[in-house]
């Protein structure tokens, strides 16, 4: 092996690429073996490799930015509970602590020490969203964290290769889905095993005894790259606020972003206090979504690791909804958490006027419901399931938003045929919602209309946790806001956006996911684009005329004279 500087620099890059490939493989193993439909259909999982100081070196790019920083911080807590010198080959550590894990009890975090030639060289960690962990179910109705399900402190799931059967029995006894939950725990364990194995093979191949030099290289280069991007931005402090619907009252999220030579700091001073219900956000999750908003704009293309995350610092007052403390309920922390990228985009827009999208539907619309198969008396005749759906994203500075697409979360939607296979329900409708996009020179993405009914006529319970019903996604630069979300029954009554509600026998649930905000004034939109949207039924003739000022003739052509008069006059 050469000691030439040039050659060793090239070699360092090769090893970095390899490490990223190892964690991608770790994540794929989890994706393919998971039982939880949130993981297997939607990709709600995270996986990464860490050095012995708990610094993240590489992370798989999966559907959930919510795990970016939270899992990274979690590994440091694991090291505190299980000091490095006590770790043994074959150990697996577990927790679902919302504050020291990834924000709610549904996420099980497993950390496995990785050994090479008998020596501890790194740690693999992974997390995924389990469908049922007991308690009152996945929704915001609990008033403290203990109502939300089983709470696993930092424990050994396996000790030197021997599974902790008492803990497994405890977990299985505290879920409505013992088989799937046990399967998912095994799946998480297997995914870290794959990582450990590949890391050891890689170290053999490159004749490495430890990861110290590689770790320093990854972290330093990534931090330098992010700092260089930040240096291109105008320094200053930028303010923005976003109003969320909240559970029982609206919630203001207030942000002050300071761009300086040290990096970017986001402070949420002034944000609303903690809620009585489970829409509170632990600080780790606040950091995760704030970092994500910065990563996809300021640091796009730079891999996630301790170095690229270091220039971003986040603070929120203790006791605010963005820094909820034990024993606050936090099950649906994604509701407010998913609003954070839109919140900081409002700050960034002032620093990068041409590079930031309008607001989008933000929070995923996760249809969580449960019920019992009709006429069934067996104790296991109940079902509980979650189906992921999305609204529209905000218009971009140079193009329309994306319809029925999640942002910031990138997890996949659940196929209708899979929804119906996991529970006795029928989805009667799931299609784009005409005129739901915020109008603009570039319009937002469209939301959806979804109708669900019980298949056997029995009642079912909806665990609602939806946003942007009172506060739709705002447009920017003169673009209009997207359509608000809606929740109701076919017979007329409106349902609340948050909380447990029963869908009566024979009733159909109507859900409309929110549209994304527009960018620029609607009157500036290319009439041809408006015409195409009218032809496709995405925009109604009335909206084309009334909102965009584009007048259509009966056969779908643009009435140029009338359009000019309308736009010129309006």
């Amino acid at each position: 092996m050469s000691t030439s500087g040039a050659l060793s620099r090239i070699r360092m890059q090769i090893m970095w690429n390899r490490l990223i490939s190892v964690v991608e493989e770790q994540a794929q193993a989890l994706l393919r073996t998971a039982f939880s439909s949130m993981v297997r259909e939607c990709g709600d999982l995270s996986a990464g490799v860490f050095d012995l100081e708990g610094r993240m070196l590489a992370q798989a790019v999966t559907g959930t930015p919510g795990h970016v920083n939270s899992m990274a911080e979690s590994v440091v807590h694991f090291i505190t509970h299980f000091p490095i010198e006590t770790m043994r080959e074959g150990d697996i550590y577990i927790t679902n602590d919302p504050w020291q894990g990834t924000g709610h009890l549904n996420d099980f975090v497993l950390t496995t020490p990785a050994f090479h030639k008998g020596r501890l060289v790194g740690l693999f960690s992974c997390t995924s969203h389990l469908i049922d962990i007991g308690g009152i179910g996945f929704g915001p109705d609990a008033t403290d964290v203990h109502m939300e399900g089983i709470y696993i402190p930092f424990l050994k799931l396996a000790e030197e290769g021997k599974m902790n059967q008492s803990l497994m029995a405890m977990i299985k006894a505290n879920t409505r889905q013992p088989v799937e939950t046990e399967g998912d725990v095994y799946s998480l364990a297997a995914c870290n095993d794959v990582g450990c194995l590949r890391l050891s093979e890689m170290m053999d191949e490159f004749a490495l005894d430890d990861l110290d030099e590689l770790s320093a290289h990854i972290i330093d280069s990534s931090r330098d790259a992010v700092m260089a991007r930040i240096a291109e931005l105008p320094e200053g402090t930028y303010h923005n606020s976003v109003r969320a619907d909240g559970y029982d009252h609206e919630v203001d999220v207030i942000a002050a972003m300071t761009i300086s030579a040290e990096g970017i700091h986001v402070d949420y001073e002034g944000t609303a206090p903690i809620s009585k219900y489970g829409i509170n956000v632990p600080l780790s999750y606040t950091k995760a979504y704030t970092c994500y908003g910065l990563a996809c704009t300021v640091a796009a293309g730079i891999p996630n690791n301790a170095g690229s995350l270091a220039p971003f610092t986040i603070s929120a007052p203790v006791g605010s909804i963005l820094n909820a403390v034990y024993p606050a309920p936090v099950s649906s922390r994604h509701i407010v958490g998913h609003m954070l990228p839109d919140t900081i985009f409002g700050c960034l827009k002032q620093a990068i006027p041409d590079g930031i999208p309008a607001e989008g539907s933000a929070t995923l619309w996760i249809l969580s419901y449960r019920g019992r198969h009709q006429g069934a008396n067996e104790p296991d005749a109940g079902y509980t399931t979650s189906a992921v759906t999305a609204g529209g994203t905000g218009a971009r500075p140079n193009k329309d938003g994306l319809s029925a697409t999640g942002f910031p979360s990138g997890v996949k939607g659940t196929p209708v045929e899979i929804i119906e296979s996991t529970a006795p329900v029928v989805v009667w409708r799931k299609e784009l919602h005409t005129d739901s996009a915020g109008a603009g020179r570039y319009r937002g993405g469209l939301g959806q209309i979804i109708e669900v009914e019980s298949r056997d006529g029995s009642t079912f319970e909806l665990l609602a946790a939806f946003e942007r019903i009172k506060n739709p996604a705002c447009g920017r630069d003169g673009g209009l806001h997207g359509a608000a979300g809606y929740l109701g029954l076919a017979s007329g009554p409106t349902l609340r956006g948050k909380g447990f509600q029963e869908i009566p026998e024979g009733e159909r649930l109507i859900v409309r996911t929110p549209g994304g905000g527009g960018m620029g004034a609607p009157a500036e939109r290319d009439p041809g684009a408006v015409q195409a949207d009218v032809l496709d039924g995405l925009v109604s003739t009335e909206a084309a005329d009334g909102v965009y000022g584009v007048v259509m003739t009966a056969d779908g052509a643009i009435d140029a004279a009338a359009t000019e008069a309308r736009r010129g006059g309006g």
Partner: protein, 702 residues
């Protein structure tokens, strides 16, 4: 294949840039490469056809069989030049194609674009009907609503219709009735129904596949009819077979209903070629490595059978990202394709890492060294700078490569930003592209529970023989084979493919509730369907049949393939299947799940003719120390110097010749770079075998 030896066989592969024609007869092979004629592909075929016949001294009537593969269907989708197609679906589900998976294929790109569906929203029409998950009718088909669509379909001039209703894999009656009504009202319009094209659960993938089938059907039917007619006019009276994406041949008439199965036939041909090379040489584990101008394709072949898969994506976004294309659920040869080819462009990213591809300079303007105005450094520029390609003998000496331009491009884009010398930067580029390919191959193998170090690499395509040694180093592979006619590998592969057909259907059952009668009835029907296609092409040949089930633990989301016994199932087979499933699961994921029930989602049958016994590799007399044709100066990154390395023309190397690396072996369409750790040996059939001299000499961690 089923075709008897002695018959004169001709294969045609239409690729994006070139149309390759190969004729094989009396142990000889004549090849031709002509430019693809995009607007009327049959013209290029006819040119190549006449060219090879002329050179071989044959007439069209001498040909016993013609085998054809084409990217026409793929191109029609990528360029959106297929038929004006309508999609008819369950009321309330107009946007299945547009809603897709509701995700973003790149988590960190807020400017990403999603591919538009093949059918715009105003041609996506709905009718009231609904069946449930078990196939029970919840809402009868509104036949009047179907009839009411006819005027709109006529007014729009729709040429092809896709019909896809929810849960139609469980009950096809509504789709079939809708098809019958429309077929009667709209004679001459093609109709594809999802319960036939892709009877599998998950509506987006099923409708995407069905729509794609409808979209390419009229075009493919017209093209194939024209081609057959013009070939007949030249005097061809042999049967025409088409290469399918699954690696089997199907008679022309049999492909008309499901033309979507013809996409990706070129790469399938490459994998078939690698299988034949494996069989000839007796290598039970090979890795097919096909590296061209834009992409590299990697495929695992165990026991001479390429790995099969049921999912494929066409028209991926620029970076070949998973999830960015249109999903197709069809039987395909499982391979990974990454944006790594001779034309892949190198740059430096913001963390000062060298990035290579997936953007490609293509053939125009091409690499900087082509001197056609391309200013971006490519992998080919790096190979030239490192001395692995002889600039005077590129493409058989028809094209001079400008090493100065290559060096300048590399220096500007990579050398200067990273403070590396030109050759060192070039070395960095090849290292990264080789690493990208090695990572893809390694992950692909690992996902299937394979130990890649045990494999032999079969390298073909213009750029593969240049990179094969280094790729082998990185994968711990000790042997590489470069077959003859590697530049027209896919067409040569077509000549070795069996007549075969796959049928897949979804039918849910758990092993605890194993319904043996249902399974047997369905498998028999599937077998009849496959047989009818295969017998159309091979009326007499003995046939082999493989039956598989796609199984998972109850509650999981992804299935694994488990082989079924080659006989009718009996009730006790549930235990056998559980055992086979557990074994397959454990080999993939190291653990099994205690006490979990197992479910079957889909079933597959493949009926095929056998593969002809290949010719044994003739013995050779060893020839040591052949005379070199000349020398290249090749860069050695260890001491950062250029050393003289001998070059040999492949045509001059007699069977049995042994060449010690480092060396460069040149031929018209490619060069084989024999690195210092390898010896090259010309086999009796002309293949070049590269063997690592000593496993420990491989500089794995260079």
């Amino acid at each position: 294949m089923a075709i008897e030896n002695g018959i004169k066989r001709l294969a045609v592969d239409i690729g994006g840039t070139f149309t390759d024609v190969v004729v094989e007869f009396d142990g000889r092979r004549v090849t031709s490469k002509v430019l693809t004629t995009r607007e009327a592909p049959e013209e290029g075929v006819l040119t190549g056809f006449r060219e090879v016949l002329g050179e071989a001294g044959l007439s069209a009537g001498d040909i016993g069989i013609l085998i054809h593969g084409t990217t026409l269907a793929t191109n029609a989708m990528i360029e959106r030049k297929g038929a004006l197609t309508a999609l008819i679906t369950t009321e309330g589900f107009r946007d299945i194609l547009e809603i897709g998976q509701e995700d973003r294929y790149d988590q960190y790109d807020i400017f990403l674009e999603k591919k538009l569906p093949l059918v715009p929203r105003h041609l996506r029409l709905c009718v009231p009907e609904r069946v449930d998950i078990e196939g029970a009718v919840l809402l009868p088909l509104d036949e009047d609503a179907v009839r009411a669509l006819v005027p709109e379909l006529q007014r729009r001039g729709v040429e092809s219709i896709a019909i896809g209703f929810l849960h139609s894999y469980a009950n096809a009656a509504h789709e079939e009735r809708t098809r019958d009504i429309l077929a009667e009202a709209l004679p001459g319009v093609s109709i594809s129904i999802s319960s036939e094209v892709c009877p599998e659960v998950r509506e987006y993938e099923r409708l995407s596949t069905t729509t794609a089938n409808a979209y390419v059907q009229p075009l493919m039917a017209r093209y194939l009819t024209r081609l057959a007619k013009e070939l007949a006019a030249l005097g061809l009276d042999a049967p025409i077979f088409l290469m399918t994406s699954g690696g089997g041949l199907a008679a022309l008439d049999a492909t008309v209903r499901f033309p979507i199965r013809l996409v990706e036939s070129g790469p399938a041909g490459g994998a078939i070629l690698a299988s034949r090379v494996a069989r000839e040489c007796g290598f039970e584990r090979v890795l097919s490595f096909d590296m061209g101008g834009t992409t590299a394709k990697i495929c695992l072949i165990d026991d001479y059978e390429p790995q099969a898969s049921r999912t494929f994506e066409v028209d991926r976004a620029a970076r070949f990202l998973k999830g960015s294309g249109l999903p197709l659920r069809i039987p395909v040869i499982e391979m990974v394709e990454i944006g790594a080819g001779g034309g892949s462009i190198a740059s430096v990213d913001s963390t000062k890492r060298i990035a290579v591809g997936p953007e490609s300079a293509g053939a125009e303007p091409g690499p900087a060294c082509y001197a056609r105005g391309g200013g971006a450094p490519t992998v080919t520029d790096a190979d030239v700078t490192l001395g692995r390609i002889d600039p005077e003998r590129f493409a058989g000496g028809t094209m001079h490569l400008d090493t100065g331009l290559a060096g300048t491009a590399i220096k500007e884009a990579v050398g200067t930003p990273l403070e590396l010398s030109e050759p060192m930067a070039a070395f960095g580029i090849t290292e990264i592209v080789d690493e990208n390919m090695a990572n893809a191959a390694r992950v692909h193998a690992i996902e299937r529970g394979k130990q890649i170090g045990e494999y032999t690499l079969i390298a073909f395509g213009g750029a593969a023989p240049l990179h094969a040694c280094r790729l082998a180093d990185k994968l711990g592979i000790g042997r590489v084979v470069v077959p003859t006619d590697a530049g027209v590998g896919s067409a040569v592969g077509f000549l070795c493919a069996p007549v075969a057909y796959d049928v897949v259907r979804s039918r849910y059952m758990t092993l605890l509730g194993f319904e043996v009668e249902t399974a047997n009835t369905m498998l028999d029907a599937m077998r009849d369907e496959a047989l009818s296609v295969v017998r159309a092409g091979a009326p007499e040949a003995p046939l082999a049949e493989e039956r598989t089930a796609f199984m998972r633990y109850v509650g999981q989301g992804h299935e694994i393939e488990v082989e079924l016994p080659e006989r009718p199932l009996v009730a006790d087979d549930s235990a056998l299947l559980k055992e086979r499933f557990d074994r397959a699961y454990e080999s993939l994921y190291a653990r099994t799940i205690p006490d979990a029930d197992v479910e079957i989602l889909s079933w597959a049958i493949r009926v095929s003719t056998g593969v002809a016994t290949p010719n044994p590799v003739p013995g050779v007399t060893e020839v040591e120390d052949p005379a070199a044709d000349g020398h290249n100066t090749v860069f050695d990154p260890e001491d950062e110097s250029f050393d003289d390395v001998p070059t040999y023309g492949r045509a001059h190397l007699a069977p049995g010749t042994r060449v010690r690396g480092p060396a460069v072996i040149t031929e018209d369409e490619t060069s084989t770079f024999v690195s210092a750790g390898f010896d090259a040996h010309v086999l009796g059939n002309g293949y070049i075998e590269l063997e690592r001299r000593d496993a420990s000499a491989g500089e794995k961690s260079q």
